[in-house]
Amino acid sequence: MTTPQHQRQPLGDRKSGPRLAAALAGLACLGCMLGCEQPRRTYRLPPDCLPVRYEAATTHATCLVSSVVMASNYLLGDRRLSERGVQVDLKRLGYDETRVGDFKAYLRQLPERLYLVTLTGQLDAKPPTGLRYWLEQRGYPVICVVNRDPAADPGFNHAVLVIGISKNHKGLSADIVHYLDPSSVQQLHSDPIDEFETIWAGGDHAMMIVCQEPT
């Protein structure tokens, strides 16, 4: 009596089938986990903008945390900090995650020798307080505090990360400011420079730059 064709497979092949399936399933799970962990860029980077990796804010109060994390990771050239990790650290050390001064103190404690420069800035390229100076001449993304509330209630202060200013080729209007908004579904926002100036004025033209202390 002869065995059917499908039963004549070698023993090793029978065992390797489930193993292969398990390995593929494992890889798929790993891919899903990594895919969930890594923030994805959902926008096309405009010309002359810094390629900063986006970090979303998980709550409305952690916009400053995310902005500092994005700027720090860009400076370090690697995703060393995460919004969640920094948030946990800040709580553990008793810092306020919404206050600029607390971030200055927090960053100085990190082994990477990071330093938060805090200035009242303007849109021009005049060093060292010009937004364009830091973006175009020094290559640093700039954290700006903006406020869209008509009464500029400080409760509505919001931290965003400016990554570039480009010429407006579409119309006759002024240049366009590109910034990453950690609390928005639309990650990249592009506002005409006069509109950005209005909302930045609501945040008292506060700007921050994450840099490394010279050795």
């Binding site: 919404t98 009242t120 020094r138 290559g139 409760g155 509505f156 931290a159 945040g203 202390e213």
Partner: protein, 99 residues
């Protein structure tokens, strides 16, 4: 010789022109020198810039703003109800007392 010179000039123009037309930012942040860093530290201490350290960024979106208004309206109506009902009963009792 003039051909060579023209060619060299053309190559130089081709290399310089893109940099002039589009002043792209540096590919990596330029490190700060010690002098630059200490200058920045001094500048931050000025009154004009020192206030930035006290700024808080606790963003509330339009949605949050709307929720706050709703919460405030709810608080007011609850307060009115809490005070209003006992006041109404007490008022009725006072009015009904002579009867």
């Amino acid at each position: 010789m003039p051909r060579l010179l023209t060619l060299a000039l053309a190559i130089a123009v081709m290399m310089v022109l893109p940099a002039v037309v589009s002043a792209a930012p540096p590919s990596r942040p330029l490190p700060l020198t010690s002098a630059h860093f200490s200058e920045l530290q001094k500048l931050q201490a000025d009154d004009e810039h020192a206030t930035v350290a006290d700024i808080r960024a606790s963003f509330k979106s339009e949605h949050e703003q709307q929720l706050e208004r709703t919460r405030l309206a709810d608080d007011i109506s609850t307060g009115v109800m809490l005070i209003g009902y006992p006041a109404l009963i007490v008022g009725l009792l006072i009015c009904a007392a002579p009867l």
